[in-house]
């Protein structure tokens, strides 16, 4: 029997737990509501660089200790930074939960030594170089910039060679002090655990952290759409991306938007699959829904031979127009719901999947839903709900950014 618990420490830190006594393992994570959208222009990339620095030691642990201790628990562990959250997680056997909490909580108060900062800067510059060799990533960063313009969602997660080179340890410390308050983070745990013990340990490890007043800015997104082509003569393929407004993570239409996106552009059996991939016109064509904090997008992506770039772009646009005019059929809606439901159940069988689900849900909406409740909300999506999303978000204004070897 799965049960849910929520509690808040006096300093404002939320603890959410989904307890499953039948699980063989447990996943634990700290998610901080901060990312590239919370950076000012002169510290571009600091959220992600800081995520690396959180592994570099604390008042009582060296960087080598941190890595060695995770390994000694046999943990699968990592961290990631997005435009709006930074998450540190570990998947472990239940007997290591106290040790994992001790380690992760300690990491949330990092030493940020200058020597480690200088060394890790080199690794970040390598990561930037690595992504510059991936056309899909280059294009995604470009369209986020083109689409969101002055809105903070336009900011790059990695930053640039220039912004990272110029960044100082003190600027990072200032950012950390402003963003990593306990009220701006959630501790989420899913799987097999002793909740009372977890609560006692969380009080002990995190209870002393001083409350901070942390706010996120929500400027209006002024999206006008537009077109841009980027030439890179060494590429063999042409890459096309489209972005248009969609429901946010808080919008009631987000379940319908998810079904819509699957029917339009899942990698198999979707409208774009039949129009572009099945006939061999594009080796990849996807349409996704990205619900963000108080703002959202639909995103389409395809790659093709440069000679077919015009044809592929035309088909992409005409498929979206057909959706606006005629919506989806009941069969399409039902198939997409079944696909999404199965994926949710499969993910729900693994503690790591559940931890990430309850964690982001709490960050975005301060709510918990059981897997069954989630599936019911999905099941309730019908043609009318899809139509409502399309009326409110008619794939317009649309931003088109392309990347390829030839001039447009």
């Amino acid at each position: 029997m799965v049960t849910f618990k929520h509690t808040q420490l006096k300093n404002g830190m939320d603890i959410v737990a989904e307890i499953n006594p039948d699980a063989q393992s447990v996943a634990i994570g700290f998610m901080v509501k901060t990312g590239s959208r919370d950076e000012s222009g002169d510290v571009s990339g600091v959220s992600h660089f800081l995520e690396h620095m959180m592994f570099k030691g604390t008042a009582r642990r060296s960087s080598a200790d941190v890595n060695r201790e995770f390994d000694a628990m046999g943990a699968r562990n990592n961290a990631f930074t997005s435009n709006e959250v930074t998450c540190y997680w570990a998947h472990i056997l239940p007997e290591f939960l106290p040790a994992a909490l001790d380690l992760l909580a300690d990491m949330m108060r990092p030493a940020l030594h200058g020597a480690d900062f200088d060394m890790e800067k080199k690794v970040i510059l390598e990561e930037i170089a690595l992504y510059l060799d991936r056309p899909g990533h280059v294009l995604y960063e470009a369209i986020m910039k083109d689409h969101f313009c002055r809105h903070p969602m336009a900011y790059s997660i990695l930053g640039t060679k220039e912004s990272i080179t110029a960044l100082t340890r003190d600027q990072m410390k200032t950012y950390f002090d402003a963003r990593y308050g306990p009220g701006n983070m959630v501790l989420a745990v899913a799987g097999n655990m002793d909740f009372d013990e977890l609560l006692r340990l969380s009080e002990e490890k995190c209870g002393q952290w001083k409350h901070l007043d942390v706010q996120r800015q929500y400027p209006a997104a002024e999206i006008t759409g537009g077109e841009r082509h980027i030439v890179d003569p060494k590429l063999k393929r042409h890459y096309v991306a489209l972005m248009c407004p969609g429901p946010s993570a808080q919008h009631d239409g987000r379940y319908a938007a998810q079904v819509l996106a699957d029917a339009v552009g899942d990698h198999d059996g979707s409208r774009l699959y039949w129009a572009l991939v099945e006939p061999g016109l594009a080796d990849e064509a996807d349409f996704s829904f990205y619900p963000h904090d108080q703002v959202g997008s639909f995103f389409a992506y395809a790659s093709c031979d440069p000679a077919r770039s015009g044809q592929v772009a035309d088909i992409l646009r005409s498929e979206l127009e057909k959706i606006i005019l005629h919506g989806l059929t009941d069969q399409e809606i039902s198939r997409s719901k079944n696909k999404i439901a199965t994926a949710a159940v499969l993910q729900g069988e693994l503690p790591l999947g559940r931890m990430r689900n309850i964690c982001s849900r709490w960050i975005y909406n301060k709510e918990y839903k059981t897997l069954e409740e989630d599936l019911q909300l999905l099941e309730s999506v019908d043609a009318a709900a899809i139509k409502k999303v399309i009326q409110e978000y008619p794939f317009n204004p649309i931003t088109t950014t392309t990347l390829g070897p030839a001039a447009s």
């Binding site: 393992s25 000694a72 080199k122 393929r237 198999d268 991939v277 079944n338 199965t342 499969l346 069988e349």
Partner: protein, 423 residues
């Protein structure tokens, strides 16, 4: 004949072979409501015709474009309506089909895979697009230097046909015809040597009856074998103006069927398991030379290799390669007890965590059958990991030193490799 074992963590395993030679492996897991299947059939790149490299890769796409009574669209819509998450791909030895679903859908899904493998339509209309997509894959690899390196290092290090890139060659793909590829499919399709693994909320006898019914008439013949040729090896550089230099290296290792492979796997964990492992710690953490640095173990039935990878900007590339080679040499002097302890805890934890996923278990028991001739239980895996002590590990590292290297780089300029290390 059916062999029954308790798999640990309350699961149970059954093994049986159909009269046509198809092996069925079933692992019943009590705590899940999903089911997953993995089918491995010996129709991979290694058995592609010598003048038809890339055939298996095209077939893996074409074969799902309609089967039995359902055309391409009906087949796709049917599996989607059942919510099946799936993939089909060609690998070196096998063509692999994977599918995950809610367990109550298995009786509807298994017959579809029977149709795909025994009665594919292989329609004329689907041939062109399937081949076109395979050709586009060749170009896409040129845009992703890390992927390209992975293909290059394998093709230089492994004896042919085992090093063949699955994607094949453009001129061979151009020459393929629908009739020729259908003929190729018929000549390679066989129940013997194929493995069907099912894991999840399933019951053995019910699965066996369904598999007998839908796969029982699959033709049976010896899987096609291509003659082996020596590997190229040596040092190879590919000029490309990428942001990072791609560095790949490889040396021979024992195959997984060797009783000592568990020692090698533990050694690989010490070298490149978690963030505290040697390569990550010495090359990234202490020197900041790269973002990605790793080594992995790869094995086919009769051969194995350790493959190393690093990506770094041109000015740090030589130092990265030198440090990598230095770590490999230093490793032959042995590991410390705490390193072995951590590797053992990590591998055991992985065994238990993978035991929670039906998809991971279906893949694992199929893998086991290929390498060991039987599925291994989680308890057996744990026992094997625990059986290795420091003396055995260090003796192994001393005897099995990193041998002659194959080194491949992609970037603006070649790197210097010590002559005595080149194979």
């Amino acid at each position: 004949m059916s062999i029954v074992k308790t798999a640990g963590l309350k699961a149970r395993q059954d093994v049986t072979t159909l009269s046509n030679g198809l092996t069925l492996l079933v692992e019943s897991m009590p705590d899940v409501r999903s089911a997953a299947l993995t089918i491995l059939t010996p129709m991979g790149a290694a058995s592609d015709p010598a003048n038809g490299l890339g055939s298996a890769n095209v077939l893996a796409d074409w074969i799902t474009r309609g089967a039995g009574e359902r055309d391409n669209r009906a087949l796709t819509d049917y599996l989607d309506s059942l919510g099946v998450q799936r993939s089909a791909s060609a690998e070196t030895v096998f063509m692999r089909f994977s599918a995950s679903m809610l367990a109550d859908k298995l009786p509807q899904v298994l017959p579809v895979y029977g149709d795909i493998l025994l009665r594919p339509m292989l329609p004329d209309a689907g041939f062109g697009p399937a081949r076109d997509l395979a050709m586009q894959q060749l170009d896409a690899i040129e845009d992703e230097p890390a992927q390209k390196l992975n293909l290059l290092i394998k093709s230089r290090h492994f004896p042919q046909p085992y090093g063949r890139p699955v994607v094949g060659k453009k001129e061979h793909l151009t020459a393929l015809t629908p009739a020729g590829l259908r003929q190729d499919f018929t000549s390679r399709s066989t129940a013997r040597g194929s493995i069907l693994a099912v894991a999840g909320a399933v019951e053995f006898s019910a699965v066996r009856d369904m598999v007998e019914k839908h796969f029982g008439s699959w033709q049976s013949k010896e899987p096609v074998q291509m003659p082996a040729q020596a590997a190229a090896g040596g040092v190879w550089h590919e000029q490309q103006s990428s942001n990072q230099v791609q560095i790949g290296l490889a040396f021979d290792a024992i195959p997984e069927s060797d009783p000592d492979s568990i020692v090698l796997q533990l050694a690989m964990n010490i070298l490149s398991g978690g963030m505290g492992a040697r390569l990550f710690s010495e090359i990234r953490e202490k020197q900041g030379l790269c973002y990605s640095v790793s080594a992995g173990y790869m094995s086919l039935k009769h051969l194995g290799a350790v493959l190393g990878y690093a990506g770094t900007v041109p000015e740090r590339a030589q130092k990265t390669l030198d440090s990598f080679l230095h770590e490999l040499q230093r490793f032959s002097a042995g590991a410390q007890r705490d390193e072995l302890d951590r590797a053992q805890v990590g591998m055991k934890a992985r065994v238990i965590m993978n035991g929670e996923s039906s998809a991971a278990r279906a893949g694992a028991i199929a893998h086991d059958f290929y390498h060991y001739g039987r599925p291994r239980t989680l308890d057996e895996l744990r026992g094997r990991i625990e059986s290795v002590d420091l003396k055995r590990l260090n003796t192994f590292l001393d005897v099995h030193r990193a041998g002659k290297m194959t080194v491949v780089t992609i970037g603006p300029a070649p790197l210097a490799v010590p002559v005595d290390m080149i194979g």
